[in-house]
Symmetry: C2
Subunit: 225 residues, 2 copies
DNA sequence: CCAAAAGTGTTCCGTCTACACCCATGG
DNA sequence: CCATGGGTGTAGACGGAACACTTTTGG
């Protein structure tokens, strides 16, 4: 038999990228207005079609690279969305990926080139098709993993102060945390190492810079914040 | 423009069903040997292709119905798998779904008809393509949600004893739990209601039968085991 | 009468929470 | 010299873990 599967249907498959960054005590999402039909002018995630020579991860990495100019971004599959009417023009099944980046590494020219905006999570407008659902699911996933996987460091520079770390933590979970209790917990985590370096930018007194030891983590992937 | 997307590729999309049940103090997975190429004779999940007139959930429900004769099964998306070589014959992107059923509701004639076996989780053979990865991911997801979502009741009859509940809990998490502590926790959960009924099958003395109040749960979806 | 499963409380320990003041420095 | 952010400890509450014996009844 030449084609076992030919009685079945084929589908366009796309990836949609939920790119999150931290700035100014808030988590922000990279959004743009659609340039093409369907949904022209509506706020939407940046996406792209999967091509025949690439895996889903490759498609997602390619799309993220177009969008950010970065490689090796932290990225995680959120889910697949395949309702019949999710794309008003044609049937498209879409895989949502969530990426976390350090917003300072992001080249703002690319943002301007693609005509995108960083929008605070609590100010997200209605999005095209089911993109809003994707975003909500992604946020819930991040929140539920923040305490057991070292996600948070993807939102920060390599060197960070404990105050920065706490602010990002609060931005992800939404709420306030006691400073002393937070620092007590961090001190117990050997993977978060204090360096000799001092950050003098954000405070006059200077704050110790810390680093996440990702090599040690790779050897023993245990993490509890 | 007549076809916005025609420059892009289309793909076969399938669903693969991870059906879990509880029996004899173990979680079991429904597996069969593939009847067709590719991979004929290898152990594999039961699956089916998504057709053009159905959503992913509809395809998954249809496939589960073929397999179990049941509708309204608890089911959850595990992930999408799209590596280039995952199906040796043609490019197929597959969505894995995990279903939990009460094994006593399962019509064994269907198992025989499809030539399937219930296999304990710790005795799972090497599976076709990436099915093993799907199963591992599904198990981890169940384990991580068992304490915050009322999954466990899908593996039990409507009426169950606390001992049964505990055995299923232990089978999911793998490990033992103290009986008194477990029962103390259960008593605090208003959604788990003691009935007047007594089960005399598994013990001479008789054990109180309990029920999960799923209607109350729907009104306020909070659950903490 | 005994095997087999049901049912029941208390103590201890570790973890999380609440809480307020001094320090260093740049401007 | 003062405004700004950095840094530190303790006491009480709470929740989870350890632990053993009595009850009922079918066979």
């Amino acid at each position: 038999m030449e084609n076992y599967y030919s009685e079945h249907s084929k589908f366009y498959v796309s990836v949609d990228c939920i790119v999150l960054g931290y700035h100014d005590k808030e988590l922000k999402l990279l959004l743009g207005k659609r340039k093409l039909e369907p949904g022209r002018g509506e706020w939407a995630l940046y996406g792209g079609f999967v091509e025949s020579d690439e895996s889903l991860e490759e498609a997602s990495n390619r799309t993220l690279f177009e969008l950010t100019g970065m490689k090796n971004i932290y990225m995680r599959q959120v889910g697949v969305y395949g309702n019949l009417d999710r794309d008003p023009f044609d049937r498209v099944i879409s895989v949502a990926y969530c990426a976390l980046i350090n917003i300072n590494d992001y080249d703002d020219n690319l943002r301007i080139k693609h005509d995108l905006e960083w929008i605070s999570l609590n100010k997200i407008p209605t999005l095209f098709a089911d993109h809003g659902k994707m975003v909500n699911t992604a946020i819930k996933q991040i929140q539920s993993r923040i305490n057991t996987e070292p996600l948070i460091f993807n939102l920060l520079p390599d060197l960070f102060t404990l105050t920065q770390l706490q602010h990002v933590y609060e931005a992800v979970l939404g709420g306030e945390t006691d400073k002393r209790n937070f620092r007590k917990r961090i001190k117990q985590i050997a993977l978060i190492e204090k360096t000799e370096l001092i950050d003098k930018v954000t405070s006059k007194r200077g704050a110790a810079l810390y680093r996440f030891n990702s090599k040690a983590y790779k050897n023993d992937t245990f993490f509890k914040l």
